[in-house]
């Protein structure tokens, strides 16, 4: 037998062994999943009774059954609120699960264990977990930070607002997830967000402004307008965007000023917001930018805003000018 033949046989044997291992592993995982489903199906009536009537589940559950019940209740906890949800929180507290998961989050060496604990704490639903979850936003493992941000959103903890925004600004947690979490918290997060407007970190100021634009109201317009003079273009852009939602007639002059900002994204955001304010006094400036702004995005946003404010006037301007953006905006507005 040549060396080549021996190598071929060895490689074939290795492949067969690898295949066998993979098939066995897959089979074993499927078996475990089936078993888990059976256990859950057995426990479901007890879980539903606990939820709706506060009835204590059987005392003689095995460790595996208790884990399955906890997972089941955790999933139910995501779907319900009110007294039904309170029954779940009380059960987890009685069973010591809150303390157990908090200990895992604080002490486990493996990141995935800490992440699982952070995730479960959100489902357990007790606000007592909030301080530990805020600390977990600084965890060296990204999956733990993500799970913590998600759970803080689920718990709707207003005091976590600043820590969440900071995590997003410093790119410790995904900005989209943080926005979701803060939208779950809702207006109670506003005091913390407003305080962040004086942060020395421009990303924090910008993120706070973006969320104030989504959660705030007319009383936030003055502060947003003041931020149009911020040294950071990132902040000025978010201020212009926020004014489209929380602003009004009194912010018109400031937004027209922002339309002349030297940074194109600020001008684009100002144009969009002027379109939302629908004040005809902005029409000339918007038409001018639609026709002459050297930046594509700004010209397009200005044209769309002009069409939104006064479609007949924008149509007239489009017919007399060479602005492709105006013609496109008028066509699009006509379709809608």
């Amino acid at each position: 037998m040549s060396v080549l033949e021996i190598a071929a046989v060895a490689l074939t044997a290795c492949s067969i062994v690898m295949l066998a291992v993979l098939v066995t592993r897959r089979w074993e995982l499927a078996r475990r999943a089936r078993h888990r489903e059976e256990v859950e199906a057995r426990l479901r009536p007890a879980a539903l009774e606990l939820l709706h009537a506060g009835t204590e589940p059987p005392a003689d559950l095995s460790v595996e059954e208790k884990e399955a019940l906890a997972d089941l209740l955790g999933r139910y906890a995501r779907a319900v609120r009110g007294p039904t949800h309170d029954h779940i929180v009380e059960y987890f507290a009685r069973e010591g699960m809150l303390d157990r998961e908090l200990a895992v989050l604080a002490q486990a060496r493996k990141g995935w264990r800490r992440a699982t604990a952070a995730f479960r704490l959100g489902d357990i639903g007790s606000v007592d977990a909030a301080p530990a979850l805020v600390r977990a936003l600084e965890d060296p493992d990204r999956s733990v930070r993500i799970a913590a941000a998600r759970s803080l959103g689920r718990l709707r903890v207003p005091d976590a607002g600043a820590a969440l925004v900071a995590a997003a600004a410093q790119r410790r947690a995904p900005a989209g997830l943080v926005r979701w979490a803060l939208l779950q918290v809702g207006p109670p997060a506003l005091p913390e967000l407003r305080a962040l407007l004086s942060s020395p970190n421009e990303r924090e100021r910008a993120a706070a402004l973006q969320l104030i634009g989504l959660l705030g109201g007319p009383s936030d317009a003055a502060e947003a307008e003041a931020r149009l003079r911020d040294s950071s273009a990132l902040v000025r852009t978010q201020a212009a965007r926020a004014l489209g939602r929380v602003g009004g007639e009194r912010n018109l002059a400031a937004l027209l000023g922002a339309l002349e900002d030297r940074i194109p994204p600020v001008r684009g955001a100002a144009a969009t917001s002027l379109g939302y304010l629908r004040d005809p006094r902005a029409l000339d400036a918007l038409t001018e930018h639609a026709e002459r702004d050297p930046f594509f995005e700004v010209a397009r946003e200005a044209a769309r805003a002009a069409a939104r404010i006064d479609l007949p006037a924008a149509t007239l301007s489009a017919s007399g000018s060479g602005s492709e953006h105006l013609r496109e905006a008028v066509d699009l507005a006509g379709i809608r």
């Binding site: 539903l48 709706h52 139910y76 995501r78 779907a79 319900v80 609120r81 039904t84």
Partner: protein, 128 residues
């Protein structure tokens, strides 16, 4: 008019099994007959077959979403009068408006309070 001696039948449609179980259990405990569907198409077929007294529909469902299903129910003469409650995670005003535009009778946000759901079901059935 609903026969006062007959147990009302409620069709619950949600692709999330956990939510379906929770709603079904709570409504069953409150004395209703409940039939479940895992997607919009199945819900429409079940509704045509069983003509329930009320439908609790998730908005985001495969095959046929809650809005489209409501629209079809309203367009079908045999189903037109069945009240519909939309149950969904989408809770922006535009979503709520859209639900009413297509003909829904009420709207409940997820996560939902099961007691509130039962109260709404009673209120909507009582209006018939």
């Amino acid at each position: 008019m609903t026969d006062p001696d007959r147990t009302p039948t409620i069709l619950v449609a949600d692709d999330e099994e956990d939510v379906r179980e929770l709603v079904t259990y709570r409504l069953t405990r409150s004395g209703y007959d409940v039939i479940g569907a895992g997607d919009g198409q199945e819900a429409f077929e079940l509704a045509t077959e069983r003509t329930p007294d009320l439908m609790v529909l998730d908005v985001m469902m495969p095959k046929l979403d809650g809005y489209e299903l409501t629209r079809r129910v309203r367009a079908e003469s045999s189903l037109r009068s069945i009240p519909v409650i939309l149950l969904t995670a989408r809770s922006q005003e535009t979503d709520v408006d859209r639900g009413f535009e297509v003909g829904a009778d009420d709207y409940l946000k997820k996560p939902f309070n099961p007691d509130e759901l039962v109260a709404r079901v009673r209120a909507v059935l009582g209006r018939r």
